[in-house]
């Protein structure tokens, strides 16, 4: 028998609208499954009883016009939620309860969504394996002691383990797409400026974007439609005409031109990834789209550029966590001593490393050599894409250079950890939309994803290509419930 928790978002919505199931039944199902899944450590804060209460209220006075009618949804703990603890995975915000709501989550509640809980993530979204979280690492539902990716690791684990119908993450350098790839799920990073950053704990402001993490492409389109809105409270939000992504979703991609960038064929890439990519190309051809070889010559500079720009912004964005106004404070002899103790004890190792890198690259005497140069390279990377998009409609690459790895395997080697983001960071640097679609498995049966990169604000084409490929690929995630 199919459990409610096995259903996709769109299936649940249809059933609720047809009154076959109630919001309360749906919410209870996800709460029960979440209760049984504590071993995954996907949640930082549970909102279960309150969610069931809200579901009951919805059922008493249902509104089926909404896009998410009475749907319980757990979200990454980087989104500020009014009255619910928001930690960003950090000790320094361990006791922080916002009095305000992020625009993206507010959009979800406005469409009938109900907060199920706050999901684990790397501290301040800095990590690729969810191992930097103050609240402990997260287990990948795919296999024991396997990382779920990061930084949206709680989100990817929760969606793969059916703890929530859909979820949202944030993506600064791959934090939605890489965990989606590691867990056999769909993750979309929208064009920079699509989703408001208001109320999202900032990591690197010029790169951060919220996005949907779902079981399939259709759910992804539905959720994007809800969360992508213009917001005056975010000066980088862009007022463009947003599609009705789910209703305009089509598998007809005939005549679309898809670029294959040669620079993404990196040394030492596992053969499985190489063959997955080749299979992806065949699928696209089967869908009637055209494959065109392209070059993105500055790709090799993307990772070093990213690891200058992102820490630089982070070092400044995280200055506000100083123990003065809110959050964790360690007592000190004087102001400077209080700062030092608070920040030394309140931040984890990876966050401190990035604050130091960021502080260094912005320092006088180094600014030109690092930060300024990185900004120039960022423009070149963006230009690569601009040039490519004169010839193609979208670009197909692998999502990650490997499948999920073991917990603790890379924690002592930051650079090898950073290499996880090699295919995803150029997309953030150029502000483009990118989606990771589960496309196969490696020899261990661990999922592997393919990434489609789109033109700015052309999420519709991105979703359409993914939608048509999804049907051809017909990927089935193998979740054994090993943790139960």
């Amino acid at each position: 028998m199919t459990e409610i928790t096995d259903l996709t978002l769109n299936e649940i919505v249809t059933n609720i609208k047809k009154k076959k199931i109630s919001s309360t039944e749906v919410t209870k199902s996800f709460v029960e499954r979440s209760e049984k899944s504590k071993k995954l450590n996907a949640y930082i804060t549970e909102n279960f009883s309150s969610a069931i209460e809200q579901a009951k209220k919805f059922d008493e006075n249902p509104n089926y016009e909404l896009k998410l009618p009475g749907i319980p949804i757990a979200v990454k703990d980087l989104f500020c939620t009014d009255g619910i603890k928001t930690t960003a995975g950090s000790k320094i915000l361990n006791n922080f309860i916002p009095t305000y709501e992020s625009t993206v989550t507010q959009n979800i509640w406005d469409q009938g969504g109900i907060l199920l809980g706050k999901l684990n993530c790397d501290e301040f979204a800095m990590g690729s394996s969810n191992e930097t979280s103050f609240f402990g690492n997260v287990q990948n539902p795919i296999g024991e002691n396997l990382v779920p990716g990061g930084s949206s690791g709680g989100s990817s684990a929760a969606i793969a383990a059916n703890l929530t119908p859909v979820t949202i993450g944030t993506d600064t350098g791959g934090s939605i797409r890489q965990p989606a790839s590691f867990t056999g799920t769909v993750g979309l990073k929208p064009t920079y400026g699509s989703c408001s950053r208001f109320g999202i704990v900032a990591f690197a402001s010029s790169l951060d974007q919220a996005g949907p993490m779902t079981k399939n492409v259709k759910d992804c389109a539905t959720l994007l439609e809800v969360i992508s809105t213009f917001d005056k409270k975010d000066s980088t939000s862009i007022d463009f005409k947003r599609n009705n992504y789910s209703s305009e979703l089509t598998k007809n991609i005939k005549g679309k031109k898809i670029g294959i960038p040669k620079e993404y064929r990196v040394d030492g890439m596992p053969v499985e990834i190489e063959s997955l990519w080749s299979k992806g190309i065949e699928y696209i051809k089967d869908c009637g789209a055209e494959i065109i070889d392209i070059s993105l010559p500055h790709t090799k500079y993307a990772l070093p550029t990213y690891y200058i720009v992102a820490p630089a912004e982070a070092s400044s964005n995280l200055a506000r966590y100083d123990g003065v106004k809110y959050g964790f404070r360690s007592l000190g002899e004087n102001l400077i001593d209080m700062y030092e103790k608070t920040r030394s004890e309140g931040f984890g190792e990876e966050v401190k490393r990035r604050i130091m890198i960021g502080t260094y690259v912005l320092s006088s005497g180094y600014y030109d050599a690092y930060y300024l140069k990185a900004q120039k390279v960022r423009q070149l990377i963006k230009k690569d894409f601009d040039d490519a998009y004169k010839k193609v409609d979208a670009i197909l690459t692998p999502s990650t250079p490997s499948s999920a790895f073991k917990i603790a395997e890379k924690t002592n080697d930051p650079v090898s950890m950073y290499l996880n983001d090699i295919f995803t960071v150029p997309v953030n640097l150029a502000g483009l939309p990118g989606i990771s679609l589960p496309a196969g498995t490696d020899k261990n049966g661990y999922p592997l994803g393919l990434q489609i990169i789109g033109k700015p604000f052309d999420e519709q084409s991105l979703l359409n290509i993914a939608y048509s490929m999804e049907e051809k690929i017909n990927f089935k995630n193998k979740i054994t419930n090993w943790w139960m």
């Binding site: 989104f79 500020c80 928001t86 960003a88 915000l93 922080f96 916002p98 009095t99 305000y100 992020s102 950053r197 208001f198 109320g199 999202i200 704990v201 900032a202 690197a204 402001s205 010029s206 005056k232 409270k233 975010d234 000066s235 980088t236 630089a312 912004e313 070092s315 400044s316 995280l318 200055a319 506000r320 100083d322 003065v324 106004k325 809110y326 102001l335 700062y339 502080t359 912005l362 320092s363 006088s364 600014y367 930060y371």
Partner: protein, 488 residues
């Protein structure tokens, strides 16, 4: 030609010139802050005008206040400056308890306003002071160290309030010039309504850069920056102290360290705050939460069309149209409210008399009572009535002063005072003749003396006649009649 106003610091064998540049922080007149909608009203209870943005809560983002941008551009136009159509907000990073974000949003490499100038009216003529730039930035909050013996308290009401930092070129050469420069800058901004210039409330503060060099030298000496001085008097004291300190060091053969110094008002001295080595590395970089600020020509032109007549133009007009002396015009235009008052009075009254009465009697009263002209106890209408009564001979200048004193209480119509007190001038020749006749009869001995050649006694007779008329006699007529009677 020797400049009598030249300010030099003299030692045995050397004369030193003082070179001064000012960074003026002027609070933008605006109801809300630079990047949030919190109120900017002065004097509210601590931490009652603080939004989540001002207190830097997680996920909060700045949104530029368009009105503050307009105010900065308006000020730039008033300073005859280059308006930059594209400017960039940067983060100036440093930790302090009253700086919630851990950085101040400011403009570093690309300010909204570029080079401009301010004309100073000095006793020996005009002097032009170059403006290097004007940029927008956030104010910090306030740390209060003297309320709680164990804790520093923080008030964030001021956090995020819009400031214009106006940086002069090192063109100032004396404390007097600094005085005139600050007053002129304040005058221009008050004309424009972009800064109220209230130094007591901290709306106008300055960092003062001072260096000295031997007279005639072409290169600048090493400068020291005196932080955050909030009155013109203190700026002048700080400059004099600091310049002398630097001169003493040079005279002793020592070098001057480039450093930031604080002015201690009580001790009247500056002392080191931090040396160049300890200078903060502010790690400026463009604020990624804010796009570059771009304004169109139309946006600037619309602001330009709102610019009122400014002090320099007004002064020129007053001189040309009303034949005022440059000195009188400078006084009358220095404050926009004074110029408005003046123009209101002269609508219906004689210009020369109005000028004298405003700059003389009225200013004396305002000074004595410590009032702004906008709080003047005598309205422009009533002052112009008084002047007309003098002009048409109804009262003498002397009586007018008595009437003026009466007018101060309750802004009374001078005509009514004159009637009530019977102060109208006696200009009837017959009545005056009778009265003078009486004086002559009562002072026969003095008349004899006068006639024998003691001309000086004429004044005595005038005085007696005035006294006899209870001060109301028309002085010109009394003179005329007396001359006729005594000499005839």
């Amino acid at each position: 030609m020797k400049d009598i106003n030249e300010f030099l610091i003299k030692r045995d064998n050397n004369n030193y010139e003082v070179v001064i540049g000012l960074e003026v922080h002027a609070q933008v007149t605006s109801n809300s802050k630079l990047f949030s909608s919190s109120s900017t009203k002065f004097g509210a209870e601590p931490n009652t005008q603080v939004s989540l943005v001002d207190a830097a809560f997680p996920g909060m983002l700045p949104v530029i206040n368009e009105f503050c941008v307009k105010q900065a551009i308006k000020t730039g136009i008033g300073l005859k400056a280059q308006i930059n159509k594209k400017s960039v907000f940067d983060r100036k990073n440093y930790f302090y308890a009253d700086l919630p974000q851990g950085y101040q949003i400011s403009q570093y490499k690309h300010p909204i306003v570029g080079e401009g100038k301010v004309i100073l009216d000095m006793p020996n003529g005009q002097k032009e002071i170059g403006i290097e730039r004007l940029h927008l930035e956030q104010d910090a909050g306030k740390s209060i160290h003297d309320i709680d013996p164990n804790n520093t308290l923080v008030d964030l009401n001021r956090s995020g309030v819009a400031l214009m930092e106006i940086v002069s070129k090192p063109d100032l050469r004396s404390p007097d010039e600094v005085n005139v420069y600050i007053k002129k800058l304040r005058s221009i901004m008050r004309y424009l309504g972009t800064c109220d210039g209230n130094m007591q409330e901290g709306s106008l503060r300055a960092d003062v850069n001072v260096s000295v060099r031997k007279k005639g030298e072409k290169t600048f000496g090493t400068r020291c920056e005196i932080k955050n001085v909030n009155s013109i008097k203190f700026m002048q004291m700080a400059i004099i102290h600091e310049a002398n300190r630097q001169v003493d060091l040079i005279e002793e053969g020592k070098s001057i360290d480039q450093e930031t110094r604080l002015f201690d008002i009580k001790k009247n001295e500056t002392r080191s705050m931090r040396s160049k080595e300890d200078a903060h590395d502010y790690r400026y970089f463009p604020d990624p939460d804010l796009l570059p600020l771009e304004v169109t020509d139309k946006f600037i032109d619309d602001i330009r069309s709102e610019i009122p007549e400014l002090p320099d133009e007004k002064k020129k007009r007053f001189i040309e149209k009303f034949k005022l002396t440059p000195y009188e015009a400078t006084i009358l235009v220095s404050d926009i409210e004074t110029s408005k008052y003046f123009e209101e009075v002269i609508k219906n009254a004689d210009v020369k008399l109005s000028t004298n009465w405003i700059t003389g009697e009225l200013f004396a009263v305002l000074n004595e009572k410590n009032l702004e002209i906008s709080q003047s106890p005598i309205s422009a209408t009533n002052l112009s009535r008084l002047i007309n009564l003098i002009k048409d001979g109804t009262i003498s200048g002397k009586i007018a002063k008595i009437v003026f004193e009466e007018m101060i209480v309750g802004d009374q119509d001078p005509q009514k005072i004159i009637e009530a007190k019977g102060l109208k001038q006696e200009s009837d020749p017959k009545a005056l003749e009778e009265l003078i006749e009486k004086v002559i009869q009562n002072n026969a001995d003095k008349v004899a003396e006068y006639k024998s050649g003691k001309d000086k006694l004429f004044g005595f007779f005038v005085g007696q006649a005035m006294k006899e008329s209870k001060g109301k006699g028309n002085p010109q007529l009394i003179n005329k009649i007396l001359k006729k009677k005594l000499n005839g």
